[in-house]
């Protein structure tokens, strides 16, 4: 079941035409790929590579010029497939005159959910995305990050099996970004399938099982993230702190096997980790400030 494709794309081509039917741009060219159940799949590529076009074709917002798309066993044009899909657009295209509760209630109604289901699910999702204090405010008063959060909540209102996320971390602060990534992993653990496209390669690397890299509408790479990133000709060892003598011994040992030490040093944390640690400390000890070291003072 794990390998059962949730999305099947075969020879998908999309050509944008002008008013007179003349070809304007070939946004996608014979794209074929499968997304399996329970995986987090990333669509990568520079601007204009066809990521968002692929997403919109999956959702039926655009019609393919050629090729076929099957989602959850149904063609992309079949509206009933949307029962099991959640979609977070690049910008949260929501009704700005509604508040958070009304927004979720509205989208819940579109899924034919009962009033009680809508209420329960809305409360749950508002808490999940951390908008408890802004639930009665109209979306036009929201910051971009808050709008992304409510956008995510509406995408999850139906507890979907397949979640399509277009630039999910765009507009979010590092904390929000981390929460989003944690949520994606959580959804994956719940057996959901997630397809996301993003410019933030670190985010994709953190959460995706498989990725596809598009360039000028064509598929250039497709596979598991670790397989694609693995450097086959090199080996990485991580040890506790070594003295210079120990490093020399390691070099000698490697030389015996016709290998050489390419680089050694102390591993660094990511900036994201540092930021998150700092914020966490600040929350634990409010009022504590940065104190310059003696060398900085001199």
């Amino acid at each position: 079941m794990e390998n059962q494709p949730v999305i099947q794309i075969k020879n998908l081509t999309k050509i944008y035409r002008d008013f007179w039917g003349r070809k304007k741009v070939r946004a996608l060219n014979s794209l074929s790929l499968d997304v399996k159940k329970g995986e987090v799949f990333g669509l990568l590529g520079p601007n204009g590579s066809g990521k968002t076009t692929t997403m919109k074709l999956l959702l039926g917002l655009l019609f393919p010029t050629e090729g076929e798309i099957t989602i959850l066993g149904k063609p992309a044009s079949d509206v009933s497939k949307n029962e099991w899909i959640g979609y977070l657009p690049e910008e949260s295209y929501l009704y700005r005159f509604l508040n958070a509760e009304e927004t979720l209630d509205f989208y819940g109604r579109l899924f034919d959910m009962s009033p009680q289901q809508r209420k329960e699910r809305s409360d749950q999702l508002i808490e999940l995305v951390g908008l408890q204090n802004a639930r009665k405010r109209q979306l036009k008063e929201y910051s971009k990050g808050m709008t992304r959060r409510i956008g995510l909540a509406q995408a999850l209102i139906n507890n979907p099996d397949l979640i399509l996320l277009d630039e999910p971390t765009s507009g979010l602060d590092p904390l929000g970004s981390r929460d989003m990534k944690d949520l994606i992993v959580k959804l994956k653990n719940e057996g959901k399938t997630v397809v996301m496209c993003s410019h933030l390669l670190a985010d994709v690397q953190d959460v995706c099982d498989r990725i596809a890299i598009l360039y000028a509408g064509e598929l250039k790479e497709l596979g598991r993230v670790e397989d694609l990133l693995k450097e086959q000709n090199e080996t990485e060892l991580l040890t506790s702190k070594l003295s210079p003598a120990a490093i020399a011994d390691v070099e000698a040992a490697l030389a015996k096997h016709s290998a050489k030490l390419i680089r050694h040093g102390h591993p660094t944390n990511s900036l994201e980790d540092l930021f998150l640690k700092t914020v966490q400390k600040s929350q634990e000890r409010p009022g504590q400030r940065y104190v310059p070291t003696a060398s900085e003072k001199s």
């Binding site: 509206v79 949307n82 029962e83 949260s92 929501l94 509604l98 509205f106 989208y107 579109l110 034919d112």
Partner: protein, 572 residues
């Protein structure tokens, strides 16, 4: 305006609608199949059939909850975007309108003006708001892409169109209802004091809403005022119109009377003091204790006549099958006003042959079955004669009618309000449909054009199509303008003129089609009935408007659905 329109026959209307709608659907379907075959080969018609099947599936799997969700959203949107500020404009107009309405007029004319003003204000404040809301809703949703999030849910495109139409119709219902109630109270406050000197304002309101249905005013002995039945003033007449034929001065039957030189031929005249008469035949059903006849005739004088007196008129009840003629007492007509006459069940008259007074039963002796193909009903024939020689009495079919028991003014008023709402539903249907395939400004222009053609320019279009309008079609009139040719002059018989007239024929055929596609929107406007003291008849006005609204709503839903389904919302 005439209050005597042909009644709406549902089955005939349905048959005509099916013919037109079925014809259009058939033509469009056949054309689509042919075009698809030409472009895509055999796979084209298969795809078209697939779309048709999908349409059938979508229309049979509608979700009321989703439709209501979109309607609710529409209502909230209108509310939060302050569309209901229209009430402020309405309140402002109502506060000061009384200053500008003529208080020197006769009481019933003041009432007429007040009712007309209130209903016209409701109409012209509601239409622009609904026109803009309905034409901009979907295009704005597409522009800001909020519709894109909606269509990624299991929402069918017809549910979006239906939800929008229902939502805007609900908004219009709220606006029209609130304005209607406020307008009604305002009308009551505008009724001149002379009309009900003894009733308090509260009692007037109770009277109008039917809590005091038979209230009359006690005579004021000090001031010597007569007893006035105020209920008659603010209740709606229920007329039963008959057929009309004329008898000329020689006693010969004619379809028209005399023309006194008036270019407006609505009324025909009978000559006084001759055999000339007008014969009205009224279809009657159940016998009643008395029949009330009401008339409004126009006098044309060839001499001054009796100074200070009006023309003398006599009704003669005729039963040709029994050769019975029963003349009723003559009376002076009230010009520019209604004459009310009551005929009791037992009618006594002086029989010239018997030289004695005779009594007959109105229904047993005077009502007879008319075999005429157009009537075929029990009828009461009333002959109208003018007794003043050298004077003429003008009348048309709606000028004389049997007045059935009056109906509540409140009900009549709100029937007119209902008519306004039906018109807004029609506008909303057209506006929402147009907005599914063009942007807001174009949709507004398109819907406004439908309004103009359906009401303002309709008469002119009909005159153009029927050739009543002198000067020919567009090309011919342009030719006449350029060559400074009078529109009564005949054009030369040349090839170029024939070509020009041929082009005109094609253009006028397009106009003919437009005129038949766009309904007569004046049917929705029922305020003249109420303003003139008539009940709004269901059969003639309201059923027609309701059927028209539904008749246009169905194709609108189809067009809107296919327009949204076949378009790429994200097309660049």
């Amino acid at each position: 305006m005439t209050f005597d329109r042909d009644p709406f026959v549902l089955l005939t209307g349905l048959r005509d609608w099916l013919l037109v709608f079925g014809g259009f659907v058939g033509i469009i379907f056949a054309a689509t199949i042919l075009v698809a075959l030409g472009i895509y080969g055999t796979s084209g018609p298969v795809a078209v059939m697939g779309r048709v099947w999908q349409g059938l599936h979508d229309f049979t799997h509608l979700s009321p909850r989703r439709i209501w969700a979109i309607s609710r959203l529409t209502i909230l949107e209108a509310w939060r975007r302050k569309a209901l500020w229209v009430f402020a404009v309405f309140a402002f107009l109502m506060m000061f309108a009384g200053w500008f309405l003529d208080s020197e007029l006769r009481a019933d004319m003041q009432l007429k003006n007040a009712v007309s003003f209130a209903l016209t204000t409701v109409l012209w404040l509601t239409i622009p708001v609904l026109l803009l809301l309905s034409c901009w809703g979907i295009p704005e949703d597409i522009r800001v892409r909020s519709l894109h999030t909606v269509v990624t849910k299991p929402v069918r495109r017809n549910e979006i169109v239906m939800g929008r139409i229902l939502g805007f119709s609900t908004v219009s219902a709220m606006i029209v209802a609130i304005m209607g109630v406020v307008g009604y109270v305002w009308v009551l406050r505008q009724v001149p004091e002379d009309d009900h000197p003894r009733l308090s304002r509260w009692n007037r309101m109770c009277l109008a809403v039917g809590l005091l249905p038979n209230a009359t005013i006690e005579p004021d002995l000090e001031k010597g005022l007569p007893e006035i039945d105020v209920t008659a003033k603010k209740f709606c007449r229920m007329p039963v119109y008959g057929t009309l034929e004329f008898v000329d001065r020689e006693g010969t039957i004619a379809s028209k009377g005399l023309n006194t030189g008036d270019i407006w031929e609505f009324r025909s005249y009978i000559e006084g003091g001759t055999k000339s008469a007008a014969r009205y035949k009224f279809a009657v059903n159940e016998p009643v204790d008395q029949v009330k006849l009401e008339s409004r005739f126009e006098a044309f004088r060839t001499h001054k006549g009796r100074i200070g007196q009006s023309l003398l008129v006599r009704y003669v009840l005729v039963n040709p099958k029994k050769s019975l003629r029963v003349p009723l007492p003559s009376f002076e007509i009230k010009e520019f006003s209604f004459n009310e006459q009551f005929i009791k069940r037992e009618v006594s008259y002086y029989d010239e042959d018997l030289k004695d007074t005779r009594t007959v039963d109105l229904f047993k002796d005077l009502v007879y079955f008319d075999d005429n193909e157009k009537i075929k009903h029990d009828v009461l024939q009333v002959e109208v004669q003018c007794l003043d020689s050298g004077q003429y009495l003008g009348m048309s079919r709606p000028d004389f009618f049997i007045r059935l028991p009056d109906r509540s003014f409140l009900v009549g008023y709100f029937k007119a309000v209902l008519g306004i709402w039906l018109l807004t539903v029609f506008i909303v249907s057209i506006g929402v449909t147009a907005s599914t395939f063009v942007k807001g400004p174009v949709a507004t222009l398109l819907t406004f054009s439908v309004l103009l053609v359906g009401q303002g320019f309709r008469e002119f279009m009909i005159k153009l199509i029927t050739g009543e309008q002198k000067g020919g079609g567009p090309v011919e009139s342009w030719y006449r303008l350029v060559t400074h040719m009078n529109d009564t002059l005949a054009l030369p018989d040349t090839v170029s003129v024939q070509i020009m007239q041929g082009i005109d024929k094609v253009l006028l055929s397009g106009l003919w089609l437009t005129q038949h596609l766009i309904p007569d929107l004046s049917s929705f406007l029922m305020s003249p009935y109420v303003a003139n003291g008539f009940d709004v008849p269901w059969g003639v006005a309201l059923f027609r408007s309701l059927a028209m609204t539904i008749g246009y709503l169905i194709p609108c839903l189809l067009v809107g659905y296919y327009s949204l389904t076949l378009r790429e919302l994200e097309a660049k």
